[in-house]
Subunit: 129 residues, 2 copies
DNA sequence: TTACATCTTGTTATATTATAACAATCTAAA
DNA sequence: TTTAGATTGTTATAATATAACAAGATGTAA
């Protein structure tokens, strides 16, 4: 558990308090007043935060959310549900799912400790409408 | 099962015969001699091909591969293994996996018919080296 | 067969996402 | 305290993707 650098902390705080995934350039616009001026400064912090498991990238959306699941910090094994209407993203913490996927063997008998799963559908709210 | 349009067919043929996922601009360079000159022509064909299930997008790589698994054409439920060294991508066709994921319920009891799963690791060849 | 809707194409321009390259500064451990 | 590694700052550019508009092709139902 290492300490975050200045830029990493600024960017993590922003993502952590956001109710929705943030895109790199949205982050940039929001931290310019804190002295972070260039895309690369944002991407470098994002890379590091992803690497140490503090945030995850939602690949299908090119956006980033904070991790609230202590177990995936090591494993880089992530699962999300994404609402196709309101774009709400929720990290899934299911022991059964993570166990199933960690033990899954492909046809060559290969196992994977690293994966990313994105479920798509409608969230509760959008389903009702 | 609809017929493909001219551009869709050209682009599908290229992806289908490629041993590896292709990126949009790689596709563009390879079909310019066939009269497809602009990115948008490529992206439109790709969108359609993804929509009808003839190809899949590898989200973490921004690349496209042909589908060889008839069942996902309808379901849009996809799973891949990706080698982190050689970038080889293989579509996973596992009844057990697809059944598990199709029946998976999140903590709200929600099921998802649509998902994308990307496993990361080393392929057989790269593991040996 | 016509008329209509829908899909597809072509084209230019631009938006969005991400990295290269180089130099300086900070930080923590030996 | 020195030194390796991490972090920062900066400019430029690469890579990925969409907007907007006009025209042509296609099929389908009256």
């Amino acid at each position: 558990m290492q300490n975050l650098s200045k830029n990493q902390q600024i960017i993590f705080d922003l993502i952590d308090k956001s109710p929705e995934p943030l895109k790199a350039y949205t982050i940039l616009y929001n931290v310019q007043k804190k002295g972070i001026k260039a895309p690369l400064q944002v991407y470098r912090a994002l890379d590091k935060l992803v690497e140490i498991g503090k945030i995850h990238k939602i690949e299908s959306r090119n956006a980033f959310i904070a991790c609230h699941n202590s177990s995936c910090q090591v494993a880089k094994a992530t699962a999300f549900s994404i609402c196709e209407i309101c774009e709400k993203v929720t990290e899934i913490s299911s022991d059964s799912l993570s166990k199933y996927l960690a033990n899954f063997k492909d046809k060559d008998g290969m196992k994977y400790i690293k994966y990313n799963l994105e479920f798509f559908g409608l969230c509760k709210k959008c389903k009702v409408k």
